[in-house]
Subunit: 373 residues, 2 copies
């Protein structure tokens, strides 16, 4: 088994749990946030910087790498780890989410999805088998089964058909998957219907994947709906396998996800807002590119020990961003990733110490749920 | 004296010399190439990376910093070193070159230059006294006197008037300069007229600056003309003071400058071409963004020990650049600066070892003069 999950401790009052995700590229303490390296690079960062700030696993996008530079080239390079000089763990998505996001540019059939490249309009076909083959060429530690991330809102009939197809695709992925040093995770769908979420979870658990993702959430639904879907889904997933909530990475979503038993998260938001000049702090968002920070010689976040906060002021970073200087984007990205890694570490330590509920209450009191969305 | 030059060794057959430039922020082995950090950052690089690749002194641009974020803000921040978190030496130009490059947007009088900002069109006035005051606020180790970098080509009458005004401005700069921990260098002008270069040099040497730059070269004239101007100018400059050739940074110009007794150089070209996907190698330019490198798993330059070459392939860096990923620009920039620092170190060692002529001949045989322009 290339990837295993060891449960270390469960919270007595909530679903939160601390564990270790064992991968061919290192043991990852969970819960964990995975920075997104869409095009075989976490935007603006070097691999050494990711290591230094404490990231042990990153996510990369199959759709993008398939189109450019092509998975065969990456295979020739010795796989994605060698290609991008990253020795930590890598999870690749299936390409499905991006393809389904293309809207009118794609067409679904039982066989798979036909889509047009956002780069040059060329036509491509993605099937469960092909999604697996591409990810085997990439050589990620964790590959994802091809699923349909259904639109939101969508009617019950559509979601029912879609989740059943997703299960059939999941089976085909399992059949196709060969690589012994790579784990293949299944993805639970079911839209915003509690019973369909349960149905999808049961079907996928029956296929005995080494880990499970929950997909199709954080797609525009109210937070309460997402939390309810987690509440009904997570308890059906095996205790001894990792659970991954896809596309989620704001502080409140992270802690709410952990509270419901999620181990893994990813999201482009923290790095994307960084490049727009907004940083995360323990007291909320701070848009350092705004005028009030022009003469502010404090660090991005007071008390933060990250490279950016130890060495640079808001005034300097604002100047860099206003002047379109790349170092500005490096520093805000570094800080935001550091904050998420730090937050997950803090959560994990509280679970291990038996004090997660206190941490959760303190967080909720500080922000309420609305603040950080 | 805040900045001194120690001559260590002169070449017996050429004008080349090795020395040390002592500054309040460290001793700089010369000859030296200074990376350009126009807006208080060497584009894409962190200060730690500059240190790691061996840069001890960088250049920053007064014109840009005066307009944004403003020299008063930088003074408040504790000066440019503190503002940008750079503990090495800094040389600032006077702002003159940029202002004179604005063309129709500026007007020269005896008093100074009126110009319009390239950012917002606002009107500003730069005088010798103001150029000094701004640089004192920035707190660079070496400030430059305000000069007129005359257009090329220009008639003799214009150049004569211009160089004499430059001398009067240089005197006013000396009069205005107060900061005891900052050196003020004079700038020799004189266009492409040998006798006017000599006249300018004599006038400035009479003012007894702690160091001298040669300006107004590499502005479009043939290389041979530039070399001739150096041949007539450098011998008139004091042996015990540093000599700086402004705006020059291709490999052939560097070695030809050193051969004629130059100690310091700066140029945006190596970092600018890096951001366009072109790198320097011992055998010439390589445009890694081009298609032939798509599947090339060699480093940018075989045998190079820089961070980029030790860890990444041409194929990966090409992918990053094609995909507009910032890490690509970081890696090409890192490599190009490393190559220049390595080249200057190699030149310096050959001077100290008495073998500069052999190095020069080997270089000339490898490239001819035309190749690297």
């Amino acid at each position: 088994m290339p990837v295993r999950y060891t449960l270390l401790k469960e919270c007595q009052q909530t679903g939160a749990r601390a564990g270790i995700l064992h991968t061919p590229h290192g043991d990852i303490p969970t819960p964990v946030f995975m920075p997104v390296g869409t095009q075989a690079t976490v935007k603006t960062m070097s691999p050494e910087e990711l290591q230094e700030l404490g990231a042990g696993i990153i996510l990369s996008n199959t759709y993008h790498l398939y189109l450019r530079p092509g998975h065969e080239l990456i295979r020739e390079a010795g796989g994605l780890h060698a290609f991008m000089h990253w020795d930590g763990a890598i999870l690749t998505d299936s390409g499905g989410f991006q393809v389904f996001s293309l809207g009118p540019l794609r067409k679904i059939s039982e066989e798979g999805v036909t889509f047009r490249s956002h780069l040059d309009g060329s036509e491509h076909f993605l099937s469960p088998e092909k999604a697996v083959a591409i990810q085997e060429a990439l050589g990620s530690d964790i590959a994802m089964a091809l699923d349909e991330c259904a639109p939101y809102p969508a009617d019950r009939r559509y979601i029912q058909d879609s989740l059943e197809r997703t299960t059939r695709w999941a089976e085909r992925c399992l059949q196709a998957h060969r690589r012994p040093d790579q784990a293949l995770f299944g993805i639970v769908q079911g839209g915003m219907y509690e019973d369909l979420r349960r149905e999808s979870a049961r079907q996928l658990v029956a296929l005995d994947f080494p880990g499970y993702a929950i997909g199709g959430l954080s797609v525009g639904e109210p937070a309460e709906v997402m939390y309810r879907m987690l509440d009904v889904t997570v308890p059906l997933l095996p205790v001894n396998k990792a659970r991954y909530l896809m596309g989620v990475g704001t502080l409140d979503y992270l802690i709410e996800g952990v509270k419901r038993g999620i181990d893994m998260f990813d999201c482009v938001l923290p790095t994307r807002i960084a490049r727009n000049g907004t940083v995360l702090t323990a007291s909320g968002y701070l848009t350092v590119r705004n005028a009030p920070y022009a003469g502010d010689f404090r660090p991005l976040e007071e008390g933060c020990h990250c490279y950016a906060c130890r060495n640079y002021t808001r005034a300097y970073i604002r100047h860099l961003i206003k002047a379109n200087e790349i170092l500005g984007l490096r520093l805000t990205t570094y800080h935001n990733l550091y904050v998420l890694v730090r937050f997950m570490r803090q959560i994990r330590e509280s679970i291990l110490a038996g004090s997660f509920p206190e941490l959760y209450n303190e967080f909720a009191a500080r922000f309420g749920r609305k603040e950080e969305r």
